[in-house]
Symmetry: D3
Subunit: 234 residues, 6 copies
């Protein structure tokens, strides 16, 4: 199965569905991790250009640890926009090039706009990518991929309808997250949190909810053409 996971910033995927991605890759699926934004506005010590380069390296390293390919769309932080034609076409093209059966992305209602706009971009593109007369660089995709939303940060306002057991992949998940050195410093200073510790707690919490040591929670995007009668999650 081809899996495409799309989040706003480097480290979002690792935090919110890194265990599932690692498990999918370990089970032989082709996983692509994409960051729509460049991570270029969260630093107290670097310039935008510097932090953008640093975070790209970190994101690539994290994907490598998880056994996934990595793509960055390079939009500046804070400027993801579900109504922007250029961004819409970028995401459509991303889907056409990766041709996923399963797409993972943010849920709407998360704490920052970029997350919610990426969610809109991806849900939209999962359909629009199939229209033959809407031309981008790649040919149209031949199916409307199933889309699953992963957890919000800290799980606020999110009720999973499906859980994935990531007990065997929790250390990989934390290692993926740990690759984001610069971001760990930023979050410690900007938000007062140790995000690796929080990832462990959140995964244990979702595990407690579903009867395993560590889990991640998801909710499918339920609409016509995206519903499935089989479980695509591992």
């Amino acid at each position: 199965m081809r899996v495409l996971a799309v989040a706003a910033h480097p480290d979002d995927l690792e935090l919110l569905c890194g265990g599932t991605l690692a498990r999918l890759a370990a089970e032989g699926h082709a996983v692509t991790m994409c960051n729509v934004c460049a991570g270029d506005r969260g630093s107290f010590v670097h310039s935008s250009e510097e932090i953008r380069a640093i975070r790209l390296q970190e994101a690539r390293r994290a994907a490598e640890i998880g056994g996934a390919a990595h793509v960055s769309l390079g939009i500046p932080d804070g400027e993801a926009d579900g109504s922007d034609p250029e961004q819409r076409w970028l995401v459509i093209d991303l889907i056409r090039r990766t041709r996923p059966q399963l797409v993972l992305t943010h849920a709407e209602g998360d704490y920052m706009r970029d997350h919610n706009e990426v969610s809109r971009l991806v849900v939209d593109a999962s359909f629009t990518a199939t229209l033959p007369l809407l031309e981008t660089d790649a040919p149209h995709h031949d199916e409307v991929a199933a889309v699953y939303h992963f957890d919000t940060v800290a799980g606020v306002g999110f009720s999973p309808t499906e859980y994935v057991d990531v007990s065997d992949h929790i250390e990989t998940k934390l290692a993926m997250l740990g690759a984001h050195d610069s971001q760990l410093s930023w979050l410690r200073e900007h938000d007062g949190v140790d995000i690796v510790e929080q990832a462990r707690i959140a995964s244990a919490y979702r595990g407690f909810q579903s009867g395993v040591a560590y889990a991640e929670g998801f909710a499918p995007c339920r609409t016509w053409l995206r519903n499935r009668t089989v479980r695509l999650l591992p």
Copy 2:
């Protein structure tokens, strides 16, 4: 896998999840269909005693068509009650004797009280059946079974979170429902509906929603100890 499906009246299971039960049985699972109520108050032509006997026969025949065992708890129609100790103990005992990994039952919010009370009885019993010091005729069950709610009648107010493809079992489903001769007459007269035709339409509608010819919709009972990280539905 041992599967226990519990509904209020003879014909409810056939209408609301008959295709899934037939599919589970066809795939080799041990399926038990249970009616809590006797079906003894819905007739313009028979006495309670007569219609109770007729419907028990019809329900057995339907279960046989579906490849399932059949149990009736014999509560009079209209008197299912989630707070009644005797009924609670009956359902606990049912679970202990059948020892299911998967339980299917009504969703709350359906059009008649018996459905909603049965839902409460079953969700409650799925936990209570595991308490060793609560004694009934059978030993306590060794796990809190996963509970899935099936559709309401006509689907009003119900949003499936999982779908089962029953395209290969639709004729079996309709045959199961068709075994309820006396009920088909009653519903034609009391509610003005041809329930077999409606079953086909409802299954096609849920199929349209999920991309197959015929489907049935479900929503898991989401609580601690009942959540699972695997899909138990076929």
Copy 3:
């Protein structure tokens, strides 16, 4: 049209849908107002027996002002119970004797148990009353009546889906409520409110929401057999 409005206590109907009842009666419909409870436990000055008698008189007077018939089922305050067989049979019988096309009752989620239990009793009975083999003193009703829930007290947690313009009946509504002298004193002392003033404010508020001077809000009980394709409210 025959209309049956069922609430827990004397004064509930007047407060929550009195304008609609007055309008229905004024437009020629046969309206019956029923209190399930006797109003026998809310007094700092009277005994239960005294206040029960006083409130029955007041309720009859209010119904008379509204142009409606009045029935009391006489259950003690605090003891309405949707699972009690005797009460269930009482309400079934009430429906069979009044044979309504339209039933109005409390919404679940109101501030006191009696309201919520009455709601359960009425929704249940609207179906059960049609079963020929469930015998009470009256013959079975020939249709599952449409059921509408009226507002909660103070409108907390209630979102109307239909509004009735009661601008021409607001004075009648307030007069109906004003007939409950003893209750007005009780609520002033027990809850610190002038309920007639509050009724005017609440009706003006629902009117503001729906573009008229005074309105009352309702939400139909949406289930199979209770849905309608026509509006029954005036």
Copy 4:
């Protein structure tokens, strides 16, 4: 009554509220059907220009069968946008020219972005069209029209709060839908569905929910100035 129905693409109105439009027209109301998008990107055989012309013809024919006027705003498929000033002004002008008392449009949460954006455009314009100092080619409308949302495709995630009996207009509805020859081919190939058959099933399903042979479901847009105390639907 003047009725304006606005959907994204040719065939959406026919599928989702065609029976209601036919009934409104048959009852003497002035019905205008508007497609915001041109239907110019869904074809495996035609160019955009060709399919745009074909579908305009089909849409006009469908409106004619339904007894309605037809308007197309000509936005390319996939590009409806509730934040686009030009599109907003187009829809405001549409409302000012048709001066509806009743507006029907998509619900948010449907499977494709165009539907949701059209919903936003129309709800917005129903108010904005009344502002005298916002100038377009037509004078401001003199009331904020009531807005009703019609069903989503396949009804996923949509719970009707009002139903319209279209039993006497089901054949007209299917004929209207049948006029979209090119679209029927496209949907058969792109989505694997026979949309005319699905329209019949969906209408029968909504009918089953509301006690008639065929029905369509709606939910009013509930906000200040859009609520009404009368039913505008037939």
Copy 5:
């Protein structure tokens, strides 16, 4: 302030709001912890009589650690019932004797029936306890106390609307929970969980959501007479 916390079983309060209770007590409020059930059916090694006695001792010890008084109503496990007159009168009397301004209890929708029935008993009694003509051993309470629901077990389906910072009381909370030796063994065997570890994780998770080290989540029971314009939680 007088605070009354009511849960189903010994250890529920400690797990779900123990930090808040310890903080309230530490800040000088009079806290009473009440278990409705005896904890007499969860043991693989003791008889009902034995485990009932053991758990009463453990619960008293836990309350002592938290600085609270302790009351047990002694209902057998599995038999809490919101419709049972005797239990209703017991809880009404409990409220009348403790005369709380603030009441904490379970949320509905938790994983086992006892929790949900206790929630119903307490919400009901918070009002009914104020009726002078409903006689129990104690005089009626003079206000409808504010009721707050605490978290469900594992937080499934519960969205806090208020958070309490328990960072300074987390060790007390865990010590309170740790007093339940027999229950810790039972949960390890019956449900495969280390509940003390889970309490730490859940508190850290709610803390992560609200910006502190450890927190507990609550949602007020929103109805007329129970709403407040001040925060009663610490």
Copy 6:
């Protein structure tokens, strides 16, 4: 505490949270009232330029009565847009210059687009304002402020989770609203309402819900970084 209240048009804040603002100011907090739009399109008698100037004067007078500072962002009515970079940067800058701990703004789902877009702009900016590498004229804010949504107009679809007692400030609230002479005329003519009278009714209604004479209702924006464990509202 520094408080920033942001609404779409002059008079929105006064109507929807004027009592709370007056109370906050009276209690010594620094309150800033901001209108994103100029109020330049709602008049039957003035030109846009005239009405814009008139309403700015009225808004300043209202703020003065309430003891608050006043800011206008000057966007034309109907053109507030949560995706517009220029407007986003304006609101980010507003937050950076006022450095609030508490932000009040519209809830989504209100009757007109400007309200909903302002809500989006403000929630977004409360986070984005803290990014050091996103440069505007002012330095980044040092915390993600708590955001509370105030009521919708007429309260449609809004369920407060917190109430503020404004009984001592109701006359100030009405005086603030009364300062909007030109708007009172417009709403009388355009919408047929006396908005001062409605403000009194709505405040009394929210007071009835929460046990005081006059109240205003709020719901916090619940997300990571915006949740708090203390009550910021008075």
